[in-house]
């Protein structure tokens, strides 16, 4: 597992476009949005969070597009399939590295933008933690879609998995309200942590099964 994590982190760190691109897109969207409306008419801190949530979802969507595609195309996935008895470990290590390299930075960017747009600075850890957890869920869901249609262009599968992200958005909406009204935050964070753990345990197995059918 350590070998896989080391390999995946080395590979992703060399693909500047793959990890820096989504972060730049998120920054551009979050800067462009307040510029495109007359912000004096609105309480930006109230609804800016929704913009962050949707932007985050789209960024996760873009980030996962190439997660398995390149390895599938160049035959690396086939090689790993032969080398590694537990194929899900490959998926899990990729997932962890993508969350670490892209998910956590975009959660941090989102949190910082929310603070700069009027949210309470004390809420920063709360916002950051729910965005991190939602990224774990979103990355898993979209990479499942990616794995489903890897031989037909990964984007198609990611698009079909988009509706699966709606419950995550609803959950995030609930989490936002708990932050804004200052109550019930811990119950929602425990719920999200539990769901994230279950998804992290199950999804790599499901994704590896989907990938295996394409390698065969």
């Amino acid at each position: 597992m350590l070998r896989l994590i080391r390999t995946e982190s080395f590979k992703l760190s060399r693909k500047l476009k793959s990890w820096l691109g989504p972060q730049l897109i998120l920054v551009l969207v979050l800067i462009a949005f307040p510029l495109s409306i007359d912000i004096s008419q609105y309480d930006l801190d109230k609804f800016y969070f929704s913009i962050i949530v949707i932007s985050l979802m789209m960024t996760a969507f873009i980030s996962t597009e190439g997660m398995f595609e390149e390895d599938f195309e160049d035959g690396s996935l086939e090689q790993e399939f032969l080398l590694e008895q537990d194929f899900y470990k490959i998926v899990l290590s990729k997932m962890l590295i993508y969350v670490f390299f892209i998910g956590i930075p975009i959660a941090l960017i989102g949190s910082l933008f929310l603070i700069t747009n009027g949210a309470d600075f004390d809420d920063l850890p709360k916002v950051f933690s729910i965005l991190c957890l939602s990224n774990i869920l979103l990355f898993n869901l979209f990479s499942f879609g990616n794995a489903l249609s890897i031989d037909k262009g990964a984007m198609l599968g990611v698009l079909t998995s988009l509706p699966l992200a709606l419950p995550v958005i609803i959950l995030l909406g609930r989490a936002v309200r708990t932050i804004q009204y200052g109550e019930g935050f811990f119950s929602i964070i425990i719920l999200m942590s539990g769901i994230s753990l279950i998804v992290l345990a199950i999804m790599p197995i499901v994704i590896s099964a989907a990938l295996k059918t394409h390698i065969d």
């Binding site: 160049d74 690396s76 032969l82």
Partner: protein, 191 residues
Amino acid sequence: MQLISAQNISYSINEKKLFHNLSFNVNTGEGLYIKGSNGSGKSTLLRIILGITLPSKGKIHFCNEDLAISYLGHKNAIKSYLSPIQNLELIFNQSGRALAFEWLHKLGLKNVQDELTGNLSFGQQKKLALIRVLASSPKMIVLDEPFVGLDYATNNLLNNFLEEKLREDMSIIFTSHIQPTFECKTLEIER
């Protein structure tokens, strides 16, 4: 010692038979040269041997479940955005690296070892993929068209290397349209 025993292997795609009732054994230190026309199912047979693809009928029996196999298919499994050295570092541990770098020198890739692999020619990329397989010291090597894209000198070097490995009790299964210069069993697939 017998490593692999295949009995009555058949494979069909959409009711169309690719090959039918193929049986063969591979022993330690033995080479199996699979030949046949384009589309006869040579690569599919290799993938069946490796367990990537399931046969329509028949069974492959591995005498040792933990048999270390290296495989080079049509895809090179090489990262174009990394240098040859970095590509090898991804695969090999410290002990394997020395041997891999020695091969880099033998196959004339030393002078391009720090360039981006994507900028190398097809033949150079093929050589790099071969190093990955040859330097991993497995008990068995499975190669799909290993001689394609190689120059005359490298073809000879590869033939000599495979012959040497057979003498060292490694088993080799390969497909090719080019007749190997060393002695090995031949399995012809007819459509």
